[in-house]
């Protein structure tokens, strides 16, 4: 199989960190997002949505969506589990993963994609009809981010990792989100518990993947 990967972007990094935590090695093909290779004909034949990552299996089937790719590998290599094993662990990890995505990751995407000139008419990631940027949505992203990061900071006062005592897929999701938000110019400082968590998550060898 082959993993279509890209530098810098948060979703491919989510898969890389996951694979590093699992100790799974996969052949990788780098797609150059800055050269818009993900929107070129060759890559659109692999993933018509123009999104990275994508996992091409040996029979030619292509799995898209970073969470789906990680769950595929989780089913192939269940241990160590990053999605939980007991019902309550599974629920906590999924709940926090979803919360980080819908409240935090989306906020960072709003701030990023609606403000930089290079993404004019590409307000949503991937292959779409022209979608104009909306400056007010960048503003909304900043409001959402502030509320999200305050909530996460309070949560991390009570827990070592996002979904409890163990590092899980929810932490991977939060790490790529917080690092991406910082690049998008959002404030991730001034939150003591997040600083403690971020330091611990970033110190794991997988964070450099």
């Amino acid at each position: 199989m082959k993993l279509y990967d890209a530098a810098w972007a948060p979703s491919p990094r989510r898969v890389r960190i996951y694979l590093a935590e699992k100790g799974v090695e996969v052949e990788r093909v780098m797609i150059d997002l800055r050269a818009n290779e993900h929107l070129g004909d060759a890559y659109l034949e692999i993933n018509p949505r123009g999104a990275v990552p994508a996992l091409e299996l040996d029979d030619g089937e292509v799995i898209t969506e970073s969470a789906a790719i990680c769950r595929y590998f989780e089913a192939l290599h269940p241990a160590p589990s990053l999605f939980g094993t007991s019902p309550i662990e599974i629920a906590r990890i999924e709940s926090w993963t979803r919360r980080v995505e819908s409240d935090g990751y989306i906020a960072a995407v709003y701030a990023f994609r609606n403000s930089i000139p290079q993404l004019k008419d590409r307000g949503v990631a991937g292959k779409w009809p022209p979608i104009p940027q909306i400056p007010d949505l960048a503003t909304r992203g900043a409001v959402m981010w502030k509320a999200f990061i305050e909530g996460l900071n309070g949560h991390l006062a009570e827990q070592e990792w996002i979904a409890g005592d163990a590092y899980t897929f929810a932490d991977i999701t939060a790490l790529v989100t917080v690092d991406f938000a910082a690049k998008a110019g959002l404030d991730i400082h001034g939150c003591g518990n997040i600083g403690r968590w971020l330091e611990a998550a970033s110190a794991r060898p997988s964070a450099g993947a």
Copy 2:
């Protein structure tokens, strides 16, 4: 345990359809969204995010996020599986669930929440600081919806159900999304394959849950 549920809204319906498909019965408490009961002090003590559904366990722990609640029940009652059992089934179902959410459900939410007067300053669902509506985002939602529904229609030309030969969580997600989009005034007609799929999904007893 107790499921905090609400009429009309798509996320609580996703859980209801899931439970009906599984044949699982749970005590329910109805929250009146039109009376803003989900943003009142009593409910915010249960779910500070002000979102429905929420599942309160007997020990007091509360699970939020509809997908997390469904995965909790899936772990308790694995058969019949709605999230897949083999790695490739799991990957297809998660990938399509995510695609329906990020391209279709979000489009419908953009169109709905940014246009109706009752949701002034509540541009994002749940408990947030005031978030102004953005009319341009309703327009973006309509553009995204059109592209999404065309893509889904093409996909359903080749498959009986969203993720293959069997009805899964991806179909539940798509059913609540398409029905919600129709209520938001988006066009779901003129797409032959979606009509065929929608009729089959809506004919299942679970659709009335």
